[in-house]
């Protein structure tokens, strides 16, 4: 019976249990859940679990060589993230990440399109709640924008899935071909979650707005699960290789510009996902191995970087690099953790990034794809100068700021950083652990003399360029940098403003014309209707040039309404009434 429980269900049930548990028991539980889920997955000996829903057979648990590596790393980062979050008093900060991690596991363990869509949407909802955990105005707005974009992605995905079902009559997984138009709809849905340009701006807009622990979780799941589905359904799509190359460079360009630490790392996520998307686009066994291994190592690397930066924010209360400086003397251990993550993600030998990043670059070389190869090298250099040089230089080595008061970092945060650092170093030294879980058995040896020398040369060359530029690095003032979200943030703003303007204009028109002017003229007219008609008629004649006596006209207007009785004796009124009755009588008989 227990084998029928999918691992993600353990996350969901635990999240509900956390509501009633005390803080101490809850902390123990948070550590236990990922371990339990990990072990339980081995206990399940079946590779597929089906349920019947609305007459359809749905595969709610699917195990193969593609999703297994993702499952391992998703549970490992859930454990590290939970440890990082242990000190939090707000239960929501522990519950929502569990639900989010559970739904991400659901995405990678789904065996059909409908189950995948269900968990896909759950993931969007729970990640929005994580963004809202900060409870400030900015996070509320960013969360709403995030939700809108992801619901749009979900709409594309659902439309594609429905059209696929209409054609094939089943929700079963299959590699999607470029001949079917629904493939493109599904692709757009996946591309939005993978932050592929031009759908990437939601990521740096929302990830820095959440809590420190929330950022660690967000960086791990949404984009990587999207990479997983791209790998499963769209391997070898050339357009992905091109878009991936562009986003790899685009991410580091923005990372080099911004001064907000978590925003810098968020932009860098886009760059790193670019490497994975290139791997999907190239579509060879080596490149797919490269994309998967880079996704897995990136989860740990980026988690470590965000945890280290989170520790700086926790201790100083400051997020912007122009407000920080001189932290090396007071936060030496955080510096060490950060540099392990930064050098690892840059691809420094003996660290995790070195053994994964180079696979995709080698795959592009083997395919003789010069464009991808150059762009990925450009992105690697950009990673090194923005993440491993700029951020640590400004935070740790510039002149110390007087107004920084440091608070101590909780032990659980340090433990989480130690765990991630250990993985970075150990797997970096012994990469076979990683290569063994990859789907394709392709020989790849990262530790060759020329590879190590080439990588070191690349970094030293970039270091010299950075040193020469250092004096001109502008960090005095904080600026924002416009991204593709400008199109929907500014246009909706303009649309709303124009709507308010039109609405306001309409209200004013109604008020001025109907309530003020019309009423005024109505009252004026009713004071002496016949004379009013005469005046209007005379004015018209005057304006048309038939009447010249301006003085007389002015005199009548000034004296209006005159004396009704004297000017229009009762006999005249009776005459008019008689004419009116006669007209009515004629009308009655004729019509």
């Amino acid at each position: 019976m227990i084998s029928l429980i999918p691992p993600y269900l353990i996350f969901f049930l635990s999240a509900f249990l956390l509501i009633i548990l005390t803080k101490r028991v809850g902390q123990f539980f948070l550590i236990l859940v990922p371990i339990l889920s990990f072990l339980h997955f081995f206990y399940i000996d079946c590779h597929s679990l089906n349920i019947h829903f609305l007459g359809e057979k749905l595969n709610i648990l699917y195990k193969d060589e593609f999703n297994l590596p993702f499952f391992y790393v998703f549970t490992i980062i859930a454990l590290i993230g939970n440890i990082y979050n242990l000190h939090c008093d707000n239960k929501k900060e522990k519950i929502f990440p569990l639900l989010y991690a559970g739904s991400s596991l659901g995405v990678i363990l789904s065996g059909d399109f409908l189950s995948l869509f269900f968990f896909w949407e759950l993931m969007a909802v729970f990640s929005t709640f994580i963004i809202w955990l900060s409870s400030n105005e900015e996070s509320k707005k960013a969360g709403l924008r995030y939700l809108m974009i992801h619901l749009l992605g979900g709409f594309f995905l659902l439309t594609g899935i429905i059209l696929l079902y209409e054609e094939t009559g089943s929700f079963t997984f299959k590699t999607l071909s470029s001949d079917n138009y629904y493939s493109y709809l599904i692709l757009i849905g996946f591309m939005i979650n993978a932050a592929v340009i031009p759908f990437s701006a939601w990521l740096p807009d929302s990830y820095p707005q959440t809590t420190l622990g929330g950022s660690v979780f967000l960086s791990a799941y949404t984009t990587k699960s999207a990479v997983y589905v791209l790998l499963r359904f769209f391997p070898g799509w050339d357009i992905l290789a091109v878009l991936g190359s562009i986003m790899a460079v685009y991410g580091v360009v923005y990372a080099f510009m911004v001064l907000d630490m978590r925003r810098l790392l968020s932009y860098h996520i886009i760059s790193q996902v670019g490497f994975m998307v290139v791997g999907v686009g190239l579509g060879t066994n080596l490149s797919i191995n490269g994309a998967i291994s880079h996704a897995l190592t990136n989860i740990i690397n980026k988690g470590l970087l965000l945890m280290s930066v989170g520790a700086i924010v926790f201790a100083t209360g400051k997020e912007r690099l122009n407000e920080l400086g001189g932290l090396i003397s007071s936060m030496r251990n955080v510096f060490v953790f950060y540099m392990i993550g930064a050098l690892s993600i840059s691809g420094f030998p003996l660290l995790l990034g070195f053994v994964s990043k180079s696979i995709t670059i080698t795959a592009s070389q083997e395919e003789h794809n010069t464009f991808c190869w150059f762009m990925l090298n450009l992105a690697s250099t950009g990673t090194f100068i923005s993440v491993a040089l700029k951020l640590p230089y400004l935070a740790f080595f510039t002149k110390a700021k007087d107004n920084i008061k440091l608070s101590s970092i909780p032990t659980n945060m340090k433990v989480a950083m130690v765990l991630a650092s250990l993985i970075c170093v150990l797997v970096g030294i012994y990469p076979k652990v990683l290569y063994r879980i990859l789907p394709y058995k392709v020989f790849y040896e990262p530790y060759t003399m020329e590879h190590i020398i080439f990588v070191l040369q690349l970094f030293v060359g970039a270091f010299i360029a950075f040193i020469l530029y250092l004096e001109r690095l502008d960090v005095k003032n904080y600026y924002i940098y416009l991204d593709t979200d400008w199109f929907y943030r500014k246009t909706t703003n303009i649309l709303l403003r124009s709507f308010y303007f039109l609405n306001d204009g309409y209200n004013r028109l109604v008020n001025e014309v109907f309530y003020k002017k019309l009423l005024f003229w109505g009252i004026w007219f009713s004071k002496n209707p016949l004379l009013a008609i005469k005046i209007i008629f005379d004015v018209m004649l005057y304006l048309l040039g038939f009447k010249k006596e301006e003085k007389e006209l002015k005199n009548i207007i000034e004296k209006y309404p005159l004396d009704l009785v004297r000017h229009w004796p009762i006999g005249t009124t009776i005459l008019y009434v008689t004419f009116f009755l006669l007209f009515y009588l004629l009308l009655y008989y004729l019509v």
């Binding site: 080099f256 060359g461 970039a462 416009l482």
Partner: protein
């Protein structure tokens, strides 16, 4: 050395970097046969040049992007 007056740290970093580059070039020179995919990779210290050029391209793009109007004040969207 006049241009590095008051920038001793920068000067020192540059000297060390150049020393490392020479060392790496010497090690590269000792390799019997370089396993390369593109012809340009055969140029001695090619990756050092590539690293320098790539870093400058990134810096150049960021400067151009700032000048092109991407850089805005914090309250831009308010």
């Amino acid at each position: 050395m006049v241009i590095f007056k008051g920038k001793e740290k920068t000067y020192r970093s540059l000297v060390i970097s150049c020393f490392v580059l020479v060392l790496l070039a010497l090690i590269e020179f000792t390799l019997k046969e370089k396993k390369v995919h593109f012809r340009v990779e055969k140029i001695p210290s090619f990756y050092s040049i590539l690293g320098f050029i790539c870093a400058y391209i990134i810096i150049l793009i960021t400067n151009l992007a700032k000048k092109a109007g991407l850089k805005q004040k914090e309250d831009y969207y308010d």
